[in-house]
């Protein structure tokens, strides 16, 4: 079995900066990303990004710069590689390489990002209804319109704010904006009309910005403790100040640890990479403590606030499992 000092799952801003932080301190580091090109959200979010090594670049250029930096520090980056499972002792199952592989890691860093939430409303299954980040990917990565160019943007949050500018820059028109709760979509086989806040108009595309939730399934499979945080997008993994989970040697960074910004994902990646490095005694604990203090000073709202879950609350509605069951 192939073994690395550090394995990073996810090649977005958090994963790339984590891999760079570990590799530049001499650790044998591998990074797996399921997409054909690494970069994650940087590939479709065009706002300028301040990189850890100085310099400010638009998202797609920042992604390329981070990949170049990682390769320069001899990170083994595998794209099109799906890390489908993780097992105790940090064995990661990966498909999409030359063959199916099981990769062993001394330290495992999960930078698995987040997934857009879906929403239910009349006509929600019509072709042309899609998530906000899906529309950004189509416009910015794949350079194609999913139908006509008249777009309704519903919901709120950072993606909704970016969406109007993205639609305009790509040559489209925002025909409606409003709340998901008031939305109805209709059409014969595809989106043709929307009704937002009681106003009906023709449209071709509906971009749903209902928020995002952290992708934490791999951390849960390794039995990391989780809790509920409304500020961070729902159930998140509990982490120490160095972003280590309740499982020693397992770190979570970026949106997977709670919905944040590109800037916080970059900083968390660096911190998680350095924490793994310190635990393998390649940098001193005092150096790591300086990084922890700097991170907490720069991103005070990222210091985790897991709200208490009372043991008798019903946590799983279908199976009627209470939060305290099994404890």
């Amino acid at each position: 079995m192939i073994e690395f000092d550090v394995v990073v799952v996810g090649g977005g801003p958090a994963g790339l900066s984590a891999a760079i932080a570990a590799a530049r301190n001499g650790l044998r580091t591998a990074l797996f990303d399921e997409n054909p090109v690494a970069g994650g959200a940087l590939r479709y979010r065009l706002e300028p990004v301040s990189l850890p090594n100085g310099g400010t670049l638009p998202g797609p250029s920042a992604a390329r710069a981070l990949v170049d930096d990682a390769l320069r520090h001899r990170v083994q980056i595998a794209t099109g590689a799906v890390a489908w499972g993780a097992f105790s002792g940090f064995v990661v199952g990966v498909t999409g390489l030359d063959a199916h592989r099981e990769i062993r890691a001394k330290r495992l860093i999960l930078a698995t990002g987040s997934t857009d939430l879906a929403a239910a409303f009349p006509g929600s299954d019509l072709p042309g209804v899609l998530t906000g980040s899906a529309l950004l990917r189509l416009l910015h990565v794949h350079r194609v319109w999913p139908g006509g160019r008249r777009v309704a943007i519903v919901g709120a949050g950072d993606l909704a704010e970016e969406m109007a500018k993205a639609v305009h820059d790509a040559g489209g028109e925002v025909v409606a904006r409003g709340a998901i709760e008031t939305l109805a979509v209709s059409g014969n086989g595809v989106v043709e009309r929307v009704n937002v806040d009681g106003v009906e108009c023709p449209a071709d595309v509906v971009a749903i910005c209902a928020g995002r939730r952290p992708d934490i399934s791999m951390a849960l499979a390794l039995e990391a403790q989780a809790g509920y945080s409304s500020a961070f997008g729902g159930f998140t993994v509990m982490r120490s100040e160095s972003l280590e989970t309740s499982v020693t040697g397992l770190y979570v960074c970026g949106s997977a640890g709670g919905i944040g910004s590109i800037a916080s994902s970059l900083a968390e990646g660096t911190l998680a990479g350095l924490a793994a490095t310190a635990s393998l005694e390649k940098i001193s604990d005092s150096t790591l403590q300086q990084e922890i203090d700097a991170f907490a000073g720069a991103f005070p709202d990222r210091v985790q606030q897991i709200e208490a879950i009372e043991p008798d609350w019903t946590q799983h509605l279908v199976e009627s499992v209470t939060a305290g069951a099994g404890k």
């Binding site: 399921e34 998530t131 319109w145």
Partner: protein
């Protein structure tokens, strides 16, 4: 180039020219950029319905475009349930609309095993 493609963009610049390849969709020949997701090639050719659902029969056309939601499952080179939003275009590919539940033919299940 189709106007569905975003050939120029104020922040991203011009769409680079590449040698196009051809694929068939339900028997009709179309052109696509090699390596792009099948779903993107279909959208660029004006096709917005990728599959129909097993129960409702409603058409679906892709929702997440990130390999998660299964709205875009199609039959590619005879193999059902291929997520068109992540499967990469190759020249000569045969893409078919998937109606209802994907059915594995004897020959394709042997070929895939």
């Amino acid at each position: 180039m189709s106007e569905r493609r975003i050939s120029s963009h104020p922040l991203l610049g011009p769409l680079p020219d590449v040698g196009m390849v051809s694929l068939t969709v339900d028997g009709v020949e179309m052109s696509a950029r090699p390596g792009e997701p099948v779903a993107v090639a279909l959208l660029a050719n004006g096709i917005r319905q990728f599959r129909t659902m097993p129960k409702s029969g409603n058409a679906r056309g892709g929702f997440c475009f990130a390999g998660r939601c299964s709205d875009c499952q199609m039959i590619v080179d005879g193999v059902p349930n291929v997520m068109a939003c992540v499967a990469a275009v190759r020249g000569g590919m045969r893409v078919e609309t998937q109606h209802g539940v994907g059915v594995w033919a004897e020959s394709t299940s042997e070929a895939a095993s």
